[in-house]
Assembly symmetry: C2
Homo-oligomer: 343 residues x 2
């Protein structure tokens, strides 16, 4: 009944159990151990089984650095994360951690937040030999892009349009915002306001265009445009402006290009004594968990985050295996989630 986990069962000198420890135990070459452990069929099935058992018994753990040094592959994905003011990035990180782990990869956080990325920081990509890079920041930091390109490190942007030397996976922003527009138009709304981000991200622009195109198709006049930071505060400020409009000029529907901003709008309206579905419809985009809070009850388009991360990792892994693959952009359709805020 030796049920103990393989806790240094026979590594007496406190030295790590390595591939040669095993090789000496069992009387085969280290290379055989290495191959057996990764399932190389050139090694007979029974030898592989014996080796697997031995490794288990001795609590063998591969040494990632040694593998990296020898093979050039680190199993690490460099991540540049967007600002904390948008919970979307938080969800994205969590999903990425989970899925990467399932594929045997880990996330190395290179940079997080809004600030510019320093060159020194970007060098970590090289130092740690990341196999690929996941970027969700507003813009592909130039130095990171250069470093990756110069070293053949594949880059995938998530929720951003592709730049030079990068693939990308996004939500179908145009289609999504068109759906929102059509929903509102179908309700008879005709006076629109559009709350956008001042830093014109590709995502924001696409949502803007998709929405406005749908309005144009119906011959509805262009919406009132308000710009602000992509955060609750940005939306809040826009909401205050909207609330301050003379009653006659008030829109009957407002589309904020991100859920956080929409939440800000709602809060601002409320503080001005206006209410989300009653005085005007408010819709957002992203599908944050927060948008479902009863207090917001926000109609939005939910980005298919798990699928997006999955595709992003697919793209990355494909390009790790074959560096010559051309850049690719995939866009996935989101799901319109109709809640109370749209009336």
């Amino acid at each position: 009944m030796k049920d103990l986990p393989p806790k240094e069962p026979a590594a007496p000198e406190g030295r790590r159990t390595t591939i040669v420890t095993l090789s000496r135990q069992i009387g085969v070459a280290p290379s055989t151990i290495s191959r057996a452990l990764k399932g190389d069929t050139r090694i007979s099935a029974e030898t592989r089984a014996r080796i697997a058992r031995l490794a288990q018994e001795w609590g063998y753990t591969p040494h990632a650095s040694a593998r990296t040094l020898s093979s050039g592959r680190s199993g690490l994905i460099g991540v540049v994360l967007g600002p904390p003011t948008n919970p979307f990035y938080t969800g994205l990180l969590h999903e990425a951690v989970r899925q990467a782990a399932a594929r045997g990869m880990r996330l190395l956080v290179i940079h997080a937040g809004a600030g510019a990325i320093e060159d020194m920081t970007a060098d970590a990509l090289l130092q740690y030999q990341v196999d690929g890079c996941l970027i969700t920041s507003v813009e592909l930091p130039s130095h990171v892009g250069a470093v990756c390109a110069a070293n053949g490190v594949p880059v995938v942007m998530v929720n951003r349009v592709a730049r030079l030397n990068s693939s990308a996976v996004t939500c179908d922003n145009r289609f999504g915002s068109r759906q929102l527009a059509e929903l509102l138009l179908g309700q008879g709304r005709r006076r629109f306001a559009l709350v956008r981000t001042s830093t014109s991200s590709s995502t924001g622009q696409e949502r803007d265009q998709g929405f406005c195109d749908a309005l144009a198709d119906m011959g509805v006049e262009r919406p009132l445009r308000l710009d602000g930071r992509s955060s609750h505060q940005g939306g809040f400020a826009a909401g205050q402006q909207i609330a301050a409009l003379p009653v006659g000029e008030r829109p009957d529907a407002v589309f904020a290009v991100s859920d956080v901003m929409a939440m800000g709008v709602i809060d601002a309206l409320r503080m001005a004594g206006l209410s989300a579905p009653r005085d005007m419809a408010v819709v957002g985009f992203d599908g944050l968990p927060e948008a479902a809070w009863p207090h917001y009850d926000l109609t939005t388009v939910e980005q298919p985050l798990p699928a997006m991360i999955g595709r992003a990792l697919d793209l990355l892994q494909a390009r790790m295996a074959d560096r010559s693959l051309p850049d690719e952009t995939v866009s996935l359709r989101g799901r319109l989630v109709v809640r109370g805020s749209s009336g």
Copy 2:
């Protein structure tokens, strides 16, 4: 005017510039390069300067894996991150990334979220030879603890009490919630509700106790206790219960042990037609940026996050340098931030 950044200036064969590339260029031993680059004073100042210049010229980037393999130090900090439902962890991550980078270290995200951590995942700690571990999860995942302890990897818990084989840095929860209690008592509030987390984290318990002790000191009866998940939803549910109380039994102040929960409480009250400072005071704990939103305007105790992360990294680095250092717990005082929600 050769202003180009050191972009493979002379690495013709696409081979990485290594320490021996440099050593051959300049005619010294590789070991000398290594020592010079890390400022070893045994190398003359002028040689060091020459080498530094050469390295710059050739765009030399150290190979982290090689260093790790040889020296045993990876420059990596393993991170276990709490659930995405509490923005506190997001802020913590951002701060940690920034400060770690400033100290030349990177964050390897081992696990994120509420789910249990798998053994395989924990093994990444060993594989990548992390120098230390930062844990903010609710409880120290047992396997992670075991792995770290067995391999002498220092562990620091943040916002959690220390477990066996770990140091910790927390906010002074008792003092903070006492301050909140005294603030409310000073206003004449006497009927209290306490919204707690059902999973009894050390943090939650301490805040509970600090608050109740202060009440007891004033001879005020024990508060009504409501338990829920540590999220907006948990707080929301508690808020609904409070709102549903007969008017005579309603508290005149509620303390939610975290800001997210307090936000949930406020939203629930509001949906029931009650309002935060008017019908009862609501206070939280953490000092989230979200708490400052005009819509919440939440009185809270702000955890000194930058200082906490700083101390956590201090503890970690000290224990990397000297593994024999005893575990240490430091608690830092937060700052009472009085806003509108407390009336």
